[in-house]
């Protein structure tokens, strides 16, 4: 048997398997069990401890390039808040498309809660440049940075914003972030104003964020798709009524994404094992031949 | 208005390190210029460059040189220009075709001058033609698309990926591998080194990239500067070791001096 041929798999076979391994789980979820970890559990518990009198600030600090990881986090947090009747203030600080992401998420989630009234239960203030300066100013007054909401309604005409004036009226800041903006929420807003901060970030930037978690500047962290899928799992366990939304076909969420991740990782690892298995056989044959020649 | 005319947070450790560093580098440049022989060990990736160009000559295919995705204000790009000068000298001597696509327009201006000069110096100005060095686009992924397309169509025998690379590193290196080219990479981007190390035949890592141009030139002053840099490094290694020993005895001076407030 020609072992060398066995190890030279056409790379297009690898590509095809990866493509299928990504597509099939998205269209037809497998539903690997998701175990949850403390950073996510703490995040969830904090939101769970809030109610109708509290307001959460959700900041969209990511853009389209990291949407597959970050969208599910934003959606799960919004659903969680709306299910509990928590008031939500939405802003976007990421210059490259943060405002689009926020708009799309609200467009998707709000219709699922027909009782919500814009301006009373939630507001969308839009995008503001200069993340750190903006964060500081919001500590003084939201109206200083956002004179009106995304549609141009002045803040004093929005019932919710007459009660939520600055961070003092915010029970929790949630930042869904792709790079440094999430860090600033921790080391600037949490440090200077004492407002609790929880962050969802991409897998690539997660290691950096653990330092803030350790130092207590963040009370919770969702790291990449894995973190997002954990949050979704906690949400479904606590509110089984949300389950149909998450198992519906034709809708993307982190659990489906995580299925795809798991399948793709498994494909890559199996290929590595296969390659090394054949390589081992080749080596053994070469050694045997070398012995015979002696 | 600040209280002092100097910035106290910067005039501690950073200034001391800068002065020590400049002292060693200038000292060894001087020694080298006075004729002192300075030993620098062989660096595998650098030694392989001539071999790669030689192979392209045998196969009659081109050499592709990518000066990275960084701009000219990135020091890695300047290091890449120094290597390019050498590679262009080789392609001129071996009369093999060279292709240098660019992402940054200022780098493009500099690479064209560098290649032209290398051909003049090699005594083969007639082999230089301006289309060798051309501009593609400023976008990272559009640039990668064009370059990967170039690779599969021209099938270069040797590919140099030297400079600042970001996510596009693997797109290019993997495509280059698939067309069977010898690939020599060099970057100081810590996040991209793993991909080059896994896919390319030789990789100049971090420091080796910056030393490559000086090493290749063989000029005494250049070699002297590497020596000076090495001595600073030795000093830092010593500093770390002493610092750790002091830490064991609960003395934090060394650590605190190098901690920026």
């Amino acid at each position: 048997m020609n072992l060398e041929r066995l190890v030279q798999v056409d790379r297009r076979i690898v590509y095809l398997l990866i493509a299928l391994g990504t597509l099939i789980p998205i269209l037809k979820p497998i539903g690997f069990a998701v175990s949850t970890t403390p950073p996510v559990e703490n995040f969830f518990a904090k939101v769970e401890s809030l109610g109708g009198d509290d307001a959460v600030l959700v900041s969209f600090d990511y853009g389209p390039t990291t949407a597959p990881e970050c969208d599910p986090m934003a959606e799960a947090v919004l659903r969680h808040c709306f299910t509990r009747g928590i008031k939500v203030v939405v802003v976007a600080l990421f210059p490259l498309g943060g405002v689009t992401m926020a708009g799309e998420a609200l467009e998707k989630i709000v219709p699922q809660y027909p009782d919500l009234v814009e301006g009373e239960d939630y507001v969308f203030l839009g995008y503001k440049d200069g993340a750190q300066a903006t964060m500081k100013q919001m500590g003084v007054a939201f109206s200083g940075v956002f004179p009106s909401d995304q549609e141009g309604t002045p803040l004093d005409e929005l019932p919710l914003m007459t009660q939520v004036l600055n961070y003092a009226n915010i029970a929790l800041v949630v930042s869904i972030a792709t790079n440094v903006i999430g860090e600033w929420w921790a080391n600037l807003v949490n440090a200077q104003f004492g407002t609790p901060v929880a962050v969802g970030c991409t897998a690539v930037s997660a290691p950096k964020y653990y330092a803030f978690l350790d130092s207590g500047q963040m009370l919770g962290l969702l790291g990449g798709l894995k973190g997002a899928s954990e949050y979704e799992q906690l949400l479904i366990d606590r509110y089984p009524a949300l389950e149909p939304i998450y198992s519906k076909a034709g809708e993307y969420n982190a659990m489906k994404g995580m299925d795809a991740q798991t399948v793709d990782h498994a494909i890559i690892m199996l290929f590595i094992l296969y390659g090394n298995g054949v390589y081992f056989l080749i080596r053994r044959r070469e050694k045997r031949e070398a012995r015979l020649e002696q | 208005m600040p209280e002092t005319w100097y910035d106290p947070s910067r005039c501690g450790a950073p200034l001391v390190v800068l002065l020590v560093f400049c002292f060693f580098v200038l000292l060894f440049i001087n020694l080298a210029r006075r004729g002192r022989k300075l030993f620098i060990r062989r660096i595998a990736g650098i030694a392989a460059m001539e071999e790669a160009v030689g192979r392209a000559t045998e196969l009659g295919r081109k050499v592709l040189y990518l000066p990275g995705g960084g701009t000219l204000d990135d020091i890695q790009t300047i290091a890449s220009l120094a290597v390019l000068r050498h590679v262009a000298g080789l392609t001129a001597r071996y009369t093999v075709d060279l292709d240098v696509p660019n992402k940054d327009p200022l780098t493009f201006a500099a690479t064209r001058d560098t290649v032209h000069e290398a051909y003049l110096q090699a005594g083969r100005p007639e082999l230089f033609h301006p289309e060798m060095v051309h501009y593609v686009t400023y976008d990272q992924f559009a640039f990668s698309a064009s370059v990967t397309g170039l690779m599969v169509r021209d099938k270069p025998a040797a590919i140099f990926l030297i400079g600042a690379f970001h996510a596009e590193s693997l797109l290019m290196a993997e495509t280059g591998q698939s067309v069977g080219a010898i690939q020599i990479a060099g970057t100081a981007e810590v996040t991209q080194l793993p991909f080059f190390a896994v896919v390319c035949d030789f990789t100049l890592m971090g420091e080796e990239l910056f030393a490559a141009g000086a090493y290749l030139s063989g000029e005494p002053a250049m070699v002297g500067s590497i020596k000076g840099q090495d001595f600073t490094k030795a000093g830092l290694i010593l500093y770390i070791i002493v610092g750790i020993l002091l830490e064991i005895f609960g003395i934090h001076w060394f650590r605190d001096f190098m901690t920026i407030q």
């Binding site: 690539v204 990449g224 | 500099a110 593609v136 976008d139 397309g149 190390a197 490094k233 290694i237």
Partner: protein, 210 residues
């Protein structure tokens, strides 16, 4: 309607790019060349809107004498084009020299202050201790020092130095392998994003118009 057209256009171009995985073909070549052109045009728009107009043209037209200092970059910028006039082509070098020299100077101090000093400081630890195991700090020091010695150019990798630099290589390999494995997840997320676009977004937007 423009949204529908746009989404299908985007989907078509995505498939053109993906076709490269099978092999090079005219569809990929079309997408690739279009991409090169459009992206360059995109940066023309970005540079003129975000840089040239607000930082130079608008200040100069609004208050010329107050912003006359902006003539310095204007001249340095125009000077780049002397390269097209052979007799004074050398002048273009001056702009490059100024540009490079400024950044090189910045780099020199930034690298020493922002990277060397803090990274050295963080390595000076009590050997016993760490967030994960009690020997984390020790491993950290051995790793940093051996990698530094691996890069040491003045001595051959022989005897003791050879052994230490070998340990340095092991650390490098461990780091590279881990970083590679760690990145896989992020890259697959990108593909998930594209699959969503092709098979979920396109379908949903199309169904809105049907």
């Amino acid at each position: 309607m423009s949204e529908l057209l746009g989404v299908w256009l985007g989907a078509f171009l995505t498939l053109c790019i993906f076709s490269f995985l099978y092999k090079d073909n005219p569809f990929f070549r079309f997408a690739e060349s279009l991409f090169a052109g459009v992206s360059l045009g995109y940066y023309i728009g970005i540079v003129s809107t975000n840089t040239l107009v607000p930082n130079m043209i608008r200040p100069l037209t609004a208050d010329f004498s107050g912003n006359a200092h902006l003539l310095i970059p204007l001249l340095l910028g125009l000077n780049l084009y002397t390269r097209y006039i052979p007799r004074i082509a050398w002048m273009a070098r001056l702009s490059l020299a100024v540009y490079i020299a400024y950044y090189v100077g910045i780099f020199m101090v930034q690298k020493l202050q922002g990277e060397v000093v803090p990274q050295v400081g963080k390595t000076i630890l009590h050997p016993i201790g760490g967030n994960f195991t009690p020997v984390d700090n020790l491993i950290m020091m051995v790793g940093v020092l051996s990698v530094l010695i691996y890069f040491y150019f003045s001595i051959e990798h022989k005897r003791a130095v050879g052994v230490v630099s070998r340990v340095g290589i092991w650390f490098l390999m461990l780091g590279f392998g881990a970083a590679f494995g760690y990145t896989v997840m992020g890259r697959i997320s990108l593909l998930i994003g594209r699959m969503n676009y092709l098979f979920i977004d396109v379908v949903q937007i199309t169904s809105q118009y049907l």
